[in-house]
């Protein structure tokens, strides 16, 4: 949320249409493909608008490093990375504070649906590579990760999908794109479980009244359904 808003991004909503023509409660186009990394145990490629992410799962397998083993359950290791060419300014390779934090919240967003106790002392490696970034990278990655885990045959009590609710020009909107994220007022990534719509990830930066927060949660609950559909369709297509 920069303070210098370029002229062309001062009006982000006009006649209830957003700059890319979407309605306020409309997701960007979604495309999910399963099995894109042959050497992995599970994998998925996802495009949500211009955000493109590759996800691979390796495991369950021997846990490494060994001092991190949990004798009671599998450990989910998550590594989120923006590839160097995924944004306007080149991203230096290697972990950053931001990528470490996202790896952690992504892990928490997925752990509660995986039956980790079925694989004591093992490790499941989840790699999230952002190929192209145009807002919503962590939400997009989580949506793909859940599909890749299913593709790897890892037992889960439900799928997890994620999107963002934002505030732009004082209005709530679903699934922000790049300029909306950069020049809007509020961004709230949120992840939910398919079976009960409980929340496994929620972060917010910006400004929300109590009422706006409540409405946002309701909007998310509705908006997220097409993502669950897309996840299921992609898995179905793969197994056909």
């Amino acid at each position: 949320m920069a303070s210098n808003v370029p002229e062309k991004y001062k009006t982000l909503i006009k006649n209830n249409k957003r700059i890319d023509g979407r309605k306020l409660d409309e997701l960007r186009p979604v495309k999910i493909e399963v099995g894109v990394v042959p050497s992995a145990d599970g994998s998925a490629y996802i495009e949500i608008g211009n955000t493109k992410v590759l996800v691979a799962v390796h495991g369950p397998k021997e846990m490494f490093p060994r001092h991190m083993i949990n004798e009671d359950r599998a450990v989910l290791n998550v590594r989120y990375a923006m590839l160097p060419f995924s944004t306007s300014e080149r991203v230096r390779p290697g972990p950053s504070r931001r990528s470490n934090e996202i790896s952690k919240v992504t892990r928490h967003a997925l752990e509660s649906v995986i039956f980790l106790e079925e694989f004591p002392a093992m490790g499941i490696d989840l790699t999230l590579d952002i190929i192209q970034a145009d807002a919503g990278t962590r939400a997009t990655a989580i949506t793909a990760a859940s599909v890749a885990l299913a593709h790897a045959g890892i037992p889960m009590k439900g799928l997890v999908a994620a999107t963002a609710i934002g505030k732009i020009n004082d209005k709530l909107a679903v699934d922000l794109n790049g300029p909306e994220d950069n020049f809007g007022q509020t961004d709230m990534p949120i992840a939910m479980i398919s079976t009960n719509k409980n929340i496994t990830l929620l972060q917010m930066d910006g400004d929300f009244t109590k009422e706006e927060f409540k409405t946002s949660l309701e909007m998310a609950k509705k908006a997220i359904d097409p993502l669950f559909e897309a996840q299921k369709a992609a898995l179905q297509k793969y197994y056909e």
Partner: protein, 266 residues
């Protein structure tokens, strides 16, 4: 030191009836806020919440602005777990906790535009003030995010910008006025333990918790930052309830911050 399994089960089973220290579910421990504790820092604060203690210090440097925001100063919030605070910090996961703590407090200050960074510009495209807020955990008995957040904003509110000499060097023993602070964000963190919502969790309670939710509120009661942590899910109702608690509790804490800052100025 990690909790024994038995203690863990005991806390979880009894949390709905009573907390270890007999607080009510939404009750904070005593909070004390001291200012001006480090003479070398441009601003500083010590915050205690029960046995949890943090020190926050503000330092300033002159630096070059980022190319994409040539007329804005830079603010960075950094938290470190000192080895003082606990012997477990060496071995692994806590480093991740440290990064999350740091990021949450940093975003809470930066994204909420608490500091008017445009007023930190000295010479457009060439020189701006870089403001560092460093937070050290001295004793860890849970709820570090709230303690760190309170410490950071208090240290910023009492901080002064050093004078710049005519030759451009910084005169560290004279000052030119306060930092341009626009609001007082206050984080309030609650957790879910065995389906009971508990605010200001101790270290033991944190280790027993299923999910954690931090909600930061500004003076007009709006929310400016939120962060869910912990492996378990939360329902919509639980989140709304925790957000309500944050609105209520943050008022008392903000009042305490203002009192501490006022005392400092006298």
């Amino acid at each position: 030191m990690t909790l024994l399994y038995q203690n863990r089960q005991y806390i979880r089973n009894n949390i709905a009836q009573k907390r270890e220290d007999r607080r009510t579910n939404e009750q904070f421990r005593d909070i004390t806020i001291e200012t001006g504790i480090i003479g070398r820092a441009e601003g500083s604060a010590r915050v205690k919440i029960g046995d949890t203690e943090i020190i926050a210090g503000v330092k300033t440097e002159i630096g070059k602005p980022y190319p994409d925001s040539p007329s804005e100063g830079v603010i960075m919030v950094n938290s470190e777990f000192s080895a003082l605070a606990s012997p477990d910090f060496e071995n692994g996961p806590p480093r991740e906790d440290s990064i999350e703590l740091s990021r949450v407090v940093d975003r809470g200050i930066r994204e909420s535009k608490t500091v008017d960074v445009e007023k930190l510009c000295i010479e457009k495209g060439e020189k701006v003030w870089m403001v560092f807020v460093d937070i050290t955990i001295v004793n860890h008995d849970g709820n570090l995010i709230d303690a760190a957040g309170i410490g950071a904003i208090t240290a910023l509110l009492t901080a002064q910008l050093p004078k710049i000499n005519e030759d451009g060097t910084v005169e560290r023993e004279e000052f030119e006025g306060n930092l341009p602070i626009t609001q007082i964000p206050v984080p309030v963190t609650s957790g879910l333990i065995n389906n009971t919502i508990i605010t200001d969790m101790s270290k033991d309670e944190t280790e027993c918790s299923d999910a954690i939710f931090t909600v930061t509120t500004i003076e007009n009661e709006n929310y400016c930052a939120m962060q869910k942590a912990g492996p378990s899910e939360l329902t919509e109702e639980q989140m709304l309830k925790i957000a309500d608690i944050a609105q209520k509790e943050s008022k008392k804490i903000r009042a305490a911050i203002k009192t501490a800052v006022k005392k400092h100025k006298v």
